[in-house]
Symmetry: C2
Subunit: 414 residues, 2 copies
Amino acid sequence: MATINPERLLRRLRVLAEIGRAPDGRLVRLAASYADKLGRDALVAWLQNAGLDIKIDRIGNIFGIWAPKGVDERSPVMIGSHIDTVIDAGALDGCYGVLGALEVVETLREAGFVPRRPIALAAFTNEEGVRYAPDMMGSLVYAGGLDVDEALAKVGVDGTVLGEELARIGYAGSTEPGFLVPSAYVELHIEQGPILEHEGYVIGAVDNLQGISWQKVTLDGVANHAGTTPMSMRRDACYAAALTIAFINDLARNSDSSSVATVGSMRIEPNAINVIPSRAVFTVDLRDPDERRLRMMEDALAAYLRGLPMKTGARVSVERLARFEPVRFDERIVRMVEQAAARRRLPCRRMTSGAGHDAQMIARMAPSAMIFTPSIAGVSHNPEEATAEVDLVAGANVLLDVVCDLASDAEARP
Amino acid sequence: MATINPERLLRRLRVLAEIGRAPDGRLVRLAASYADKLGRDALVAWLQNAGLDIKIDRIGNIFGIWAPKGVDERSPVMIGSHIDTVIDAGALDGCYGVLGALEVVETLREAGFVPRRPIALAAFTNEEGVRYAPDMMGSLVYAGGLDVDEALAKVGVDGTVLGEELARIGYAGSTEPGFLVPSAYVELHIEQGPILEHEGYVIGAVDNLQGISWQKVTLDGVANHAGTTPMSMRRDACYAAALTIAFINDLARNSDSSSVATVGSMRIEPNAINVIPSRAVFTVDLRDPDERRLRMMEDALAAYLRGLPMKTGARVSVERLARFEPVRFDERIVRMVEQAAARRRLPCRRMTSGAGHDAQMIARMAPSAMIFTPSIAGVSHNPEEATAEVDLVAGANVLLDVVCDLASDAEARP
């Protein structure tokens, strides 16, 4: 049983985490920024060093391809993730999947493994969506879910145009996105949640990804004097919001499914201590791996909001911000992950991804799955983001085994 | 029965409402500002025109005194309010009480009335408290509740010092605050609430003023990914806040007393759609005319907050921002108001003042009461602030009658 080189993987993770570190100590490598260029340059150099053939597509996705002579270049096993980050990021989100994939490829080459399919490493552009919306953009474009020219024309929060920025940093490639249709896609990633650590598992075999429903709720009441307006004559937008927020949280808390509900953003107007609020605006983030249950939560919220005017006098308006159906990953690959973990005696459980990942986009075009490793205290998108080194190594070894299995199987899959 | 001159009162209200109107059309006459100086100058000119003796005390309170020969200058009947405003104010809050008092004095003089006590008109400095805290400052200092030098040293939200600003606008007087101890104080004011209009009354005989309790509640949870953190492992500060806001509102709504509870100001951190809030900060404004019931509400909130960590995992801290006990006004003067309204066949009810007023401060040193007139739609602190002209006239006539009664009674009161 081959084993990845732990020191090489961990060293590269440390190196990449210093690229784009701002003078104030924060790691910020936003998509298509100069910091991103430096990260990309380092990655490309490593890929070339490993003997891989580099391709950049029009949306800036980077591919490092290993296609031994005599092997059909099409239908590679694709592995990867992204290297752009949020603001004040940790070292692992995305980077672990890309550098883990690189480590797997190098280990296989050193072991003299001869794949019966090509192996393609992918680093997708703008997974985080911090600078340009939507997130998971590179993989979405690659899978045909968003037109490449439309994506390149996106204007960022800083007023820049993505296509111009990609050209500026030298990563506006000429290859058409989707030029390789993978036979399988596997993404190694930190969990970004507390479940594996909490339950004592080292490997998550991710068999599905939650559906996401984002809504913005605006409640309009009437501003009035907090001292002189009797309770019975109030139309208090903050009170109406509080009832709704308690309701949707309690609904998810009392459900025996894995539904989650979050009100993460809220503001009230006029926001003065002695004035009854005339307006409350808040977001609702609902997630469930089951589309039927996700829709039930949306319906329950809608029904509650319909009753709110009668109960509180507040007028209700709702704007849908985003909606993704749940994704089911490929059962065959998920089982390969479980079997690889079992062979290495790593405690493994099946699980749902609560976050969005490039894998959910590539799942539109190819059988896909993900491998999770534990996040200490469940923390992510934060400098405190961490995973035990032994777990990082374990995850990469499981990826190694799964890639071995997939690349040994030359039977064509759609 | 003498009657005030409606045109004169309404004209002066219109004139004063144009002094301090900003280029953008908003009326802003903050305490001790240049706009306030212009308003004060107009008022002083009117008081002098009416033959009154002007006194300015050290905190800038303006007095116009009518003391006929042979009448003891001490123990006047005092009437008035304030002329400073909030930002984007209406025309009536405070100004109606001052100009109504002026109208009463002129009417009495024109009618040849000879008071057996002096009549002192008062315009107190900085009732609104927008620029310098605390509010009701001029009357608080006058009644001995705040040292005058301490008040003059207050730094405003714009970094200015009140004492310097009063000197700059020419209203840093030399008379010691409290130099006249009134035998009675009566303040005419718009209700700033909806009760009189809603119930069809023209006059409110204000027999008490609510106690006020202001608290700032900070709830600390843990920020985490909204998709990957199971409901059972969350410490969501916004959820904890929503439960508390619903609780305190429901407590006041379900009480059969006149308790009111308002959460008017709130913010959450980090305030992102897909991050569980780590912190929620909100204010609680509790009011009740009965000190025992006000304390019961405070106790109920405190008990609820004690249970919150167990229920939600949030840590709780509470800061007391302000606390005023309820004020009971003088029964004899309240009855005079009721009798005056009855004689003029004006529908009148006893009521509580939900807002704070200078009368609550002067009540510390003299028998006091207030006369309310209806606020259309209960609106105040707003350009839409309005009272029917006929009601403005009615209120001033009731003040006229009450002042007549009080100034005819030469029996010393403490």
